[in-house]
């Protein structure tokens, strides 16, 4: 039973982090119907920036919670800046191009960013300091939930609520939903579609950066390649829940997190990454619209 609850918490933790990354995919897809392959790399850059900032701050004598907050803030700013720039450089010129073009451009961007970090930094795994504080009130429950896991789950939940409020009740959220439904029509009624798309990339990238900081603290090491696998898994989560749907992304991420957690726990840990792919292929065969997605008929 202990093993089981441990796996449950593990699944919830994984799921929360996948959700943070999957939201970026699903929001971008909802608005411009593009799989942003570079999204995983944005998350990786977020983790790297946090690592660099945290090291610099620690070495200059700071400590504790202030390092965490500063590093996280800088990581979010940088990820958002990268997301914004990537959209502007690699996707915006291709807005009217055939579907294959922005997709290839996105793959190119992903490879470029990976190797940019590889060359500028290192190909080795870097140890990531655990910046998250120890929570004392969790003491009696440490057998199945650590404070890192607890913080990850709570942070994700809070962010989900904030994001829902942003999308549902603010002007910007309204503009985003309008653009997602029909970009031309939204532009006709005075929505600045380019700015809305930029905002979407900025929000998605910021979430990815938060995910990056959290998962790096959880796993404890990062390298330039972490974005690739995480990106595919988050994408799987987004598709699983129905791409374009925000609650769907969260649900899909949780399903994926639990599948992986139980899969590695009861089947084999060698095939950890295979579960996500198998799940992805199965969902695409049997229910391509995802758990919460709508089936769209193709227009001629």
């Amino acid at each position: 039973m202990d093993f089981f609850s441990e796996l449950c918490v593990g699944g919830l933790t994984r799921g929360s982090i996948y959700a943070l990354i999957a939201l970026g995919y699903t929001m971008v897809y909802g608005i411009i119907e593009l799989i942003n392959f570079a999204h995983g790399e944005i998350y990786m850059i977020g983790a790297f920036t946090a690592l660099i900032m945290a090291s610099v701050l620690t070495m200059s004598g700071m400590s504790g919670i202030s390092v965490l907050i500063l590093a996280a803030v800088v990581a979010v700013i940088y990820s958002a800046a990268y997301g914004f720039t990537v959209e502007k450089v690699a996707y915006r010129p291709l807005r009217q191009a055939p579907r294959l073009s922005p997709l290839i451009s996105a793959i190119g961007m992903s490879i470029f960013l990976q190797n940019y970090v590889l060359i500028a930094q290192t190909s080795d795994f870097l140890p990531f300091p655990n910046l998250l504080p120890e929570l004392e009130f969790l003491e009696p429950y440490t057998s199945f939930i650590g404070s890192t896991e607890f913080i990850i789950i709570v942070t994700t939940a809070v962010i989900m609520v904030l994001l829902t409020i942003l999308i549902k009740f603010t002007r910007m959220g309204k503009a985003m939903r309008a653009t997602a439904q029909d970009r031309d029509m939204a532009m006709l009624v005075g929505v600045n579609a380019n700015r809305v798309i930029s905002n979407t990339f900025i929000i998605g990238s910021s979430l990815a950066a938060i995910g990056g900081v959290l998962i790096a603290s959880h796993i404890g090491r990062i390298n330039f390649y972490i974005g690739f696998i995480a990106g595919i898994k988050a994408f799987t989560a987004a598709v699983l829940g129905g791409i374009g749907s925000i609650p769907g992304a969260v649900l899909g991420a949780l399903v994926l997190g639990f599948t992986e957690s139980f899969g590695t726990g009861y089947v084999s840990s060698d095939y950890e990454d295979v579960f996500a792919f198998v799940l992805l292929i199965l969902i695409l065969i049997f229910k391509p619209s995802g758990l919460l997605g709508h089936t769209t008929s193709q227009k001629v």
Binding site: M53, I111, Y116, V117, A120, Q121, Y271, V274
Partner: protein
């Protein structure tokens, strides 16, 4: 450019340079050593980034301005805008002698240059075939396949395993490798047929990764990460060959395979299947309305594309005599894709040139080879923005309607 425009460009470029300096600051300028707890500040990099992005942005603006003017020119003069390269290739007087020169230098190459050079050339030729194979799927049918390396691996492992267990020779393994890759291609295509372009990309990517992970972990089957060694080189009527001769032999084998591929792909382009593929790429619904069996055409595309990867896979195993899963990563797929993108989707000449450029350049410019993958990524982005049709535009047979008084 006018003076005001020039000043404007200067200002914009400065802003962009500053932005990129800001953007690259933590990753480029700081390197932390978490073991010794030291920080290395690399301010020079900031300078490079600043100057580099300033110059690039300035050039970018200049080219963009020029692009608009040329477009206007074309419209005014009513030029058909046929690209220079294509015009050159179409010219028979130039084309035949050029072909002759290429043929003679290809024949003489292994006897003039060293074994090492011949080896590199063989690799380049392998990528030509891989590029042409992927082109059938991506360029002609418009199905973005990011797991192409899985079929390449299927060919290589077919030969290696058959040889290890049953002592099967190269010549028998060649068709078998192609066959196993084809079957794998059809197996992958079956579930993903219903998917649209972007989903397909992810599923094929996942498929490629699954293949590699299985090869790495299923020790009883594939011997895991340590791979299989001692794979024999191809034989020639039982003749004994030293390494030098074997390399030359493999080089000519590759030349022959290249010629066969070019011939087949060329014939395919204007065949019934080839046209169905192009129709499918342009508009799936219209294509179905014209009575083309979508499922069958897609399956054919996948099967045809993966066959070449299987063939080259067998040759790869025979060439290196050692294979392990590390040779079949996603980067390999990405490399082949950038060959197709650079060369021009659908253009045979373009892909051949693309393969030679992308394989030989990093090989000969050693200082450059660290930046190879960086460059591949950049090529994909830049080509998509500026020349989505590649360095050489694929020639589509078109019919023109002329009035009688012409």
């Amino acid at each position: 450019m006018h003076a005001t425009k020039f000043m404007e460009g200067l200002k914009q470029s400065t802003i962009i340079a500053l932005w990129f300096m800001f953007l690259t600051f933590p990753v480029m300028a700081i390197r932390v050593n978490t073991i010794e707890n030291t920080i290395e500040w690399r301010w020079m990099n900031m300078l490079y980034v600043g100057c580099g992005s300033f110059i690039l942005s300035f050039l970018w603006r200049y080219l963009a301005a020029k692009k608009i003017t040329t477009k206007k020119l074309f419209l005014k003069d009513g030029l058909d805008g046929r690209p220079l390269m294509q015009a050159l290739l179409g010219e028979r007087r130039l084309f035949l002698p050029a072909l002759g020169i290429v043929a003679v230098s290809a024949l003489l190459f292994p006897f003039v240059f060293s074994t090492y050079q011949t080896n590199i050339m063989t690799t380049a030729l392998m990528y030509v075939v891989l590029g042409l194979g992927l082109n059938i799927v991506v360029g002609q049918a418009g199905l973005l396949n990011l797991g192409y390396v899985a079929f390449y691996a299927a060919g290589a492992y077919t030969y290696a395993l058959l040889n290890y267990h049953f002592g099967v020779g190269f010549w028998l393994a060649l068709p078998l490798g192609a066959l196993s890759a084809t079957i794998l291609g059809i197996l992958l295509a079956l579930p993903v047929l219903r998917l649209r372009g972007d989903y397909l990309a992810i599923v094929t990517l996942g498929f490629g990764e699954i293949t590699r992970i299985i090869l790495e972990n299923w020790n009883e089957f594939s011997f895991g990460p340590s791979g299989i060694s001692g794979i024999p080189r191809p034989g020639l009527f039982g003749m004994e060959m030293d390494i030098h001769e074997a390399t030359i032999y493999l080089y000519f084998l590759m030349i022959i395979l290249c010629l066969i591929t070019i011939f087949v792909v060329n014939r395919l382009q204007n065949s019934r299947i080839g046209r169905a593929l192009i129709a499918l790429r342009e508009d799936e619904i219209a294509c179905q309305a014209m009575g083309i069996d979508k499922t069958r055409v897609k399956l054919t595309a996948f099967a045809l594309g993966s066959t070449w990867a299987g063939l080259v896979g067998v040759i790869f195993a025979a060439k290196t005599t050692f294979i392990n899963p590390a040779s079949f990563t996603f980067l390999e797929s990405a490399m082949i894709l950038s060959i197709v993108v650079l060369g021009g989707m659908g253009s045979i000449t373009g892909i051949i040139i693309g393969a030679f450029l992308l394989i030989l350049l990093p090989e000969y410019l050693r200082a450059f080879s660290d930046y190879r993958m960086l460059l591949f990524g950049l090529i994909m982005v830049v080509m998509m923005i500026y020349r989505p049709q590649g360095i050489i535009t694929g020639v589509r047979r078109t019919y023109e309607f002329h009035r009688e008084e012409k």
